[in-house]
Assembly symmetry: C2
Homo-oligomer: 357 residues x 2
DNA sequence: CAAAGCTATGATAGCGCTGTCATAGGTTGT
DNA sequence: ACAACCTATGACAGCGCTATCATAGCTTTG
């Protein structure tokens, strides 16, 4: 607005300019710039920059003048330009499989909140979208030059690892553990979860096990160690059904229906997520099966509804918010040049015994 | 990698440089640039740029040479620089209240997928975070110069509207209707929903109504028109409980518990979301109340689980994915300079009668 | 075969900001 | 009183990319 009158861009105006003049720019975007604010405030552009980014270097009066000029012009800083000049974008990227899974959402929310509070913005990338693999996604994200990046899981292509190293930014992998992380790591052991659930259910006396498992990488790990542990007890040939991601209550119901249709009569069903478990619960109830007397149901993640279904769901509690919080703390410390404390964090898990198993 | 040997930056190196030389840059980021690729490929930087962004302008052989140079160097374009130069960022921002509400997620997912498919990246802003209001959030987002922006709801401060107009980018408001949108609009009438539900339940014979309502702007509109409609039937003084956001099953259970504790004996409970309705269902069941014989329960949104609870939830179906899809289509058309079709879309809603009411 | 047009590539000059160094003016210490 | 230092501000030169115009080498056309 402060500018529109003085510099009307466009081809026409250019033609009318005498060729001797240094030619007014054809490319200006027409939006208010630092320079415009500076002119109005009667200071140099760099002073405006400082007023915004290092106000302690500017006298209170100058600061006030600049503030007014900013308000008057409606100036919005251009972080593309700022980031290009300073190599700091105030952007942190996080890659998660999907928004459709409440597990990751509960991690992302505190991550976002802490980063936002520290002046960063979170850019979410969804790797579960079938037509782009993580590698492509990562390339796209790195082209925005984030200051740091958060990844879900620990399996990344060599090329991805290479690119991440080349980017020279803090990286946090989360939701799993590995002896060879790219950089920092916040997660828990899915193997131990599988084993712990097997122990728990076996010692409660269940013997006819079934699994309803989604096509998630980490769910598979839990399943494998669950089966191994049961094998250790001398139990073999368990009934398992696979359901596609994203997991829904519907898939849980259908999974349970399929189990029963196939003639299985499990006395305990372990699901790869509470959502699936919830579906199993509903299917059992709709068929008049009593939970847990006729069939026990065990979920995973302890989502917000797990304690409030009827009957309440036994599950594996994972402090999902803590994953996000720790990841944010590690990143913010490192971005601030401070020591980050331990950068390999096992947040553990806990078997929660409620009514359903 | 291709560069690190030839240009060791840093203070030391600078001091050793004779003062007559044009001084090697102190500021280079050390990462591979277009220029590096160009040098390796034996072409000019602009040709590399074209190979990436307008390959049809480059001969196949040149393209191939450039491709190889890119692969060899591991070049990742810098979209900050590109965006600054071209005023196109390939970034679309969307503001939603929270990730914790599956309603919006179901809209965001197709929005993200379509935008990603068209080469855009989606930047999510969460306005529900208490310490930042939408206005601040918007400012932060606009400083990244997105090519377009999607907003949830139609109530925005004058300053926000001003800024959005000044940004001169396509804007889509969604999830509500208004006669005075900022630009484009994709939503449905929450007033009509409230009235339709009141009609539906009244005509099914229910008379002792209760409401469990979250502190959501649009939920309030639905509640108001629901109450108005019932008032039209001569019913007054309904039992209502407010629950805080984000809505959870727990809040639904507690809401129902509170209603009963207060001595209310509703024969129908209308909830501002399926999640709350689900909690109401669980609470009723845990007290031995039959649904819908003793109490009917009605949700809102038709979330994925609504058809699969037991008993299945009667609710208001909203095609949330269609909101995202239409928003994406409108934006992509306008960003591509094509006619966008109608830019005020009422996607409607539908009362779904299942078992719970 | 000259004029005109087309195609592939290049040179130049920014986009809007900040790192870096320089400088004017003030304060302190002896 | 003067060096030594500090503080607030400014000038300048890029950050890495693309819009724009220019140009060399073709093909087309009457």
């Amino acid at each position: 607005m402060a500018r529109s009158a003085s510099s009307p861009p466009g081809r026409k105006a250019l033609r009318e300019t005498p060729p001797s003049e240094p030619r007014t720019s054809t490319r200006s975007t027409g939006s208010v710039t630092l320079g415009d604010v500076a002119k109005l405030a009667g200071v140099s552009p760099i002073t405006v920059s400082r007023a915004l980014n290092h106000p302690e270097l500017v006298t209170p009066e100058t600061l006030e003048t600049v503030r007014q000029a900013i308000a008057e012009t409606g100036y919005v800083p251009n972080l593309l330009a700022g980031g290009l000049a300073s190599s700091r974008t105030k952007l942190v990227a996080a890659i998660i499989p999907t928004l459709g899974n409440a597990m990751f959402i509960d991690t992302i929310q505190p991550l976002n909140d802490l980063l936002t509070g520290a002046g960063y913005q979170l850019l979410l990338g969804l790797s579960g979208f079938p037509t782009t693999d993580e590698q492509e996604l990562l390339k796209g994200i790195l082209s925005r030059r984030p200051d740091a990046i958060v990844l879900t899981g620990v399996n990344h292509s060599d090329e991805s690892r290479q690119r991440l190293k080349a980017a020279k930014i803090p990286v946090v992998e989360m939701w799993d553990l590995t002896p060879a992380p790219i950089d920092s790591l916040v997660g828990f052991s899915h193997e131990k979860v599988g084993k712990a659930v097997a122990d728990f259910l076996f010692h409660k006396g269940y013997r006819r096990f079934a699994l309803v498992c989604a096509g998630d990488e980490r769910a598979r790990i839990r399943r494998r160690s669950f089966l191994e542990a049961l094998g250790g007890f001398g139990l073999e040939s368990l009934a398992t059904v696979d359901v596609p991601t994203p997991t829904t209550v519907r898939m849980g119901r259908e999974g349970m229906a399929r189990l029963l249709a196939d003639g299985h009569r499990p006395d305990a069903v372990f699901c790869s997520s509470d959502v699936l478990a919830h579906g199993v619960l509903a299917e059992a109830q709709s068929r008049g099966l009593r939970v847990p007397e006729d069939v026990a149901v065990m979920g995973f993640a302890d989502l917000d509804f797990a304690a409030y279904t009827f009957p309440a769901l036994s599950t594996v509690h994972v402090d999902r918010a803590a994953i996000g919080t720790r990841a944010a703390e590690i990143l913010l410390a490192r971005l601030g040049g401070k020591p980050a404390g331990p950068t390999m964090v096992d947040i553990g898990f806990e078997i929660i015994e409620r009514a359903s198993a």
